[in-house]
Symmetry: C2
């Protein structure tokens, strides 16, 4: 992704974000510093900071505060991943050992807490109460979503529950990225600019998670440590399974087993179910749903000022759905 056209525009600024992130444990316990650097090195594509930087630049947000916002977003994202991996017992993320694979649960909980604290401090340093409020609201939505998933499992998921879940899990933070960037550019929540920026973030976030959920059925080699059908194995009913269920899959005994037991241990049954869902055309239908979100994101973009940043945001929207199919 480092060579993607939409990154080029903000490549230098992303270096500033990176440097700011790397300093966030300075003066704290050496093991915290080591943990932060491990997490940042293992970190992904910085797509949230990229979105925030492009939107902020498009709308004219001041450079320094925008860099801080971008760092705050990545730090919040990293903090939620640390607690997520602990809860899921995941040992690898993007092919690198997770914190909880190397540390005790206690140290992992506290490191996540520390990263939350630093994310909040960075958000405060944007010097905008509204940005701060967006951050804390997003955090409450994210955590509430995780709690729902934990307590309700994936069983008997409705389309509305799925939408709410992927909003909480992913879209809320993309929405935060673009709404906060608009805020730093001086747009109040009742400005049309603010609303279109927010909508762009919301829709690419929804599409991003739908595509992630499709990839779980496709065996993407880049998602190391995540075998195909991982969600079904863990009882998580995502859009492909939902679409399959609404059509021919209602009587599928393997899907019924997933729903009734909150997961499926038998690898052969998982594989069989994945194959049937793939052959049902559910992945194409799910991809279509993702594309509708991208269309809505592009429509929102059209209402924003033209410029290279807008073109880059449009390219980024296409990338979100086209990265693997």
């Amino acid at each position: 992704m480092s060579t993607a056209p939409f990154v080029t525009l903000v490549q230098d600024t992303l270096q500033e974000v990176e440097a700011l992130l790397a300093r966030q444990a300075d003066g704290y316990h050496p093991d915290l510093q080591a943990a932060l650097h491990h997490l940042l090195a293992a970190g992904g594509k910085r797509i949230r900071p990229t979105v925030a930087l492009l939107m902020g630049r498009l709308l004219g947000a001041p450079h320094r505060r925008l860099v801080i916002l971008a760092a705050a977003l990545e730090m919040l994202h990293t903090a939620t991943l640390v607690h997520d991996d602990l809860i899921d017992g995941a040992l690898l993320r993007r092919g690198m050992p997770t914190l909880n694979a190397q540390w005790s649960p206690a140290a992992t909980v506290l490191t996540g807490d520390f990263l939350f604290a630093r994310a909040a401090l960075l958000a405060t340093n944007t010097e905008s109460l509204h940005v701060m409020r967006l951050f804390t609201q997003a955090l409450a939505v994210i955590v509430d979503g995780e709690i729902r998933q934990l307590f309700e499992g994936g069983a008997y998921t409705t389309a509305a529950q799925y939408e709410h879940r992927i909003y909480a899990k992913t879209a809320s933070m993309f929405e935060l990225a673009t709404a906060a960037a608009a805020t730093l550019a001086g747009a109040a929540p009742d400005f049309p600019t603010y609303e279109q920026a927010r909508r762009y973030g919301y829709h690419i976030g929804m599409a991003f998670q739908i595509v992630d959920d499709i990839l779980d059925y496709q065996g993407d080699s880049r998602q190391v440590g995540k075998p195909v059908g991982n969600d079904l194995r863990n009882g998580l009913v995502t859009l492909p399974a939902l679409i399959y269920m609404q059509h021919q899959g209602q009587q599928d005994p393997d899907l019924q087993a997933v729903l009734q037991n909150g997961g499926l241990f038998d690898a052969q049954r998982v594989e069989r179910l994945v194959t049937r869902i793939r052959e049902s055309g559910a992945l194409q239908a799910a991809a279509q749903a993702a594309r509708q979100h991208i269309d809505a994101a592009l429509q929102a973009l059209q209402a924003l000022p033209p410029g290279p940043e807008r073109d880059a945001l449009a390219a980024l929207a296409h990338y979100v759905v086209d990265r693997d199919f």
Copy 2:
């Protein structure tokens, strides 16, 4: 404590704080609401909100924002307790089951995260960026302190390490309470009023934790579930043991065992060591250190405007050290 003279002044306002706290999970998952209400019912004396309310009223902070600040403080305190109890594996706190005694670790981690998010949102609702910054800095200090305690244990604690630890664990939040209250009253960090308010909070917080550490050697019946010598058992060297160590205790084989093994399993050896530390006069010396902090707190108070709130804050300072000896 509900009849203590320093509470009377703010009793009605504390009811408003309580009502605001109870609403913080409204609209979220029912189990989150139940958890919040359990935690609030099990909650303690609301000493942090009381301190903030008294200081804010003394300095003329606006009522509504002060109520929000007080709720934010109690919510932050509650959030840290939830993760603390999980890390310590504590099953009881103040005689009530802890969240982790009833819930899975995953649910407990997430509930703590949710409470952090709500604390941050309440802090944001004080509409003061400086209050927000104080909050996030305090949170980073608290978590860093817990991480240090986890990684370094209590072994080979120096007086400076002990001071840093109790500042992080307890005094930082009292300091936050009074500095934030002064901020809402319009005092900037370079105002003498701000500095004296901060000092008062810092010193009663330090005294509060020293007294807590002394109580661990006295077997306070109110600290249900915490037997005498709990800290030594867990390898935590607090002020009484530090003072004992600096005098006759250097060669004490039981204390050496605590230091070398990061704790002591043998109940008889713990009891023997507790008795020797008590008989050494270390508890009196530690109480003297607590009283010095109270004197400093009272001195800071003298620089603040007179009034019933100042008298109440003075009474509260005395209460902190005199509650049990």
